[in-house]
């Protein structure tokens, strides 16, 4: 089975972010970067499936040269090779990005494409679904895990997945392959790269494609006008000082101002 895991590099979770001078994106210097959390789970689900069903896992990543680090880490965990779409980070439009990803995958013909359900930076939560539609694949979103792979002769393979619904509900869905799944964080344990894996990663193929080669140059249908720090709308009491003093004042306020104790 050929599995593509689409991953993105995002600022690490605790980053202090600053808006850039043109208010179009963030200031990227001095930031640490890591794999988008849900994408790490997408990769993990792909690696586990490869171990069960045999085949290969191809990592697909769009990002600047610095994203090579995140790609190497995915290869070290066990991905077989990678495709790196080289482009600057920006507040991009998910349709334009998904179209480039679809074009980069044209010759691959994967059986299964996995993405995280949402990125921690732009947070559209759409790239996977748009990629499925662009590639003409059926999809399921917010998938916890793949529960079964069923091979039905003459009809091809079907997978059974567990989807998360709202309010503590779940649902099983059967999807014929090829298909695309967007994966939820947290349903399985993530592996660490082994020393052997890190060594092997250096020899694995990374195909680099420039965004210009893939861009369809279609007019955008949305535009991000301005990125900014949200205004504080609520007038809260925020204490930043010695813990003991803050705690005493807080309890006082909860007792006599909010009257909730």
């Amino acid at each position: 089975m050929k599995i593509v895991a689409a991953i993105k590099q995002v600022p690490s979770r605790d980053s202090q972010l600053k808006v850039n001078a043109s208010a179009t994106w963030i200031e990227e210097s001095d930031l640490d970067w890591e794999i988008n959390e849900a994408d790490a789970y997408a990769l993990e689900v792909g690696l586990q499936l490869k171990e069960k069903a045999a085949g290969e896992v191809v990592v697909l990543c769009a990002g600047p040269a610095g994203a090579a680090q995140t790609i190497r880490e995915a290869l070290a965990k066990g991905a077989d090779r990678a495709i790196h779409i080289e482009m600057e980070r920006e507040a991009s439009d998910p349709l334009a990005l998904a179209r480039m990803m679809a074009k980069a995958l044209e010759t691959e013909k994967p059986d299964l494409v996995l993405t995280g359900l949402q990125s921690d930076d732009l947070g559209y939560g759409q790239t996977g679904v748009i990629l499925a539609e662009t590639m003409g694949l059926p999809h399921a979103t917010i998938v916890m895990n793949i529960e079964a792979v069923m091979n039905i002769e003459a009809e091809g393979s079907t997978i059974k997945v567990k989807r998360e619904l709202e309010d503590g509900w779940f649902q099983h869905v059967e999807i014929p392959l090829p298909a695309l799944l967007t994966i939820q964080s947290g349903a399985t344990k993530l592996r660490y790269a082994t020393l052997m894996g890190i060594k092997k990663a250096k020899t694995r193929e990374v195909r680099r494609i420039s965004a210009a080669e893939l861009s369809a140059a279609l007019p955008p249908s949305i535009r991000v006008e301005r990125v900014y720090t949200p205004e504080k709308t609520k007038r809260a009491w925020i204490f930043d000082g010695p813990a003991k003093e803050g705690a005493a004042q807080l309890v006082e306020k909860l007792r006599f101002e909010a009257r909730v104790l």
Partner: protein, 327 residues
Amino acid sequence: MSGILAVLEQNEGVLHKLSFEALAAAQQIGAELNLPVFAAVAGSGVEAVAQTLAGYKLNKIHAIDHDLLLHYTPDGYTVALRQTIETHRPKYVIFPHTYQVRDFAPKLATALDRVLVSDTVGHRIDRDKDGGGLVLVRQLFQGKLNADVRFEGEPPYFLSIQAGAFRADTLQTGTAPVEKTTPDLKPEQIRTKPLERFRESQRAVDLGAARIIVSVGRGIKEAENIPVVQKLADALGAELAASRPICDNGWLPPDRQVGSSGQTVAPKLYVAVGISGAIQHLVGMKGSKTIVAINRDPEAPIFEVADYGIVGDLFEVVPAIIEALKK
């Protein structure tokens, strides 16, 4: 129609609670832009649920009815709603930002070469701008930053509304006719097969009934540290709850999870300890009467919804609060 179409979610004949907020958004934006407002619900046998909307101020309600829409599938909903949009040509299509909408709305927008502006938390009207003058506000980086987004090119323009961005209690009443349509939909167009819905276990804890909740997030670092916040919960006579990562890690059972995938709560007092405040968590607790946040990061979005906040190390602040409560 060239107005605003609110595509609402119903499950087994009951409208999703965010459907009413999406309808309120459609009415409000419709009034601001002077556009007529329509609603649509899809399913099998949806005329009854469409009739429940007949008491609102709307130009028309479209009941999109087909046997193949009995169980939700992204393929079935996309084929059916695409026909509604191509027939009636709304300028704006508004969805509630539910899990179901996240599953099909990007596909529907893509089928029409458009981008859905998902998860909008606010809006304003700026008539000098393209895209009909509607400017939308979205959150980036888990709520650390905001972005203003507008539409370009020709309509339809698609947007989904985050919980709490519009108030259902502002809905205007009136009378609206229901029009039933049967989309052209064939079984072979639906590729996925939805099976039964289920819950993992019976909920042992009803957080909705708690008067005080102490909720813990990633800041707690390790399972071994959970007693730190349990002690605070005990001191306050509170139920202990958590954000998603804590339950995913198995540090607390899933029935103690607050947020879009867990329980929605509105206690008298909600104490968020080491929770940064991603929107998925905030939608589950921001209706609380008084919110206290304790976090190391002064920029954490949880402070946006807090009434009282302490910036600091929870391992120092929490024991200090327990001490202060004894006095």
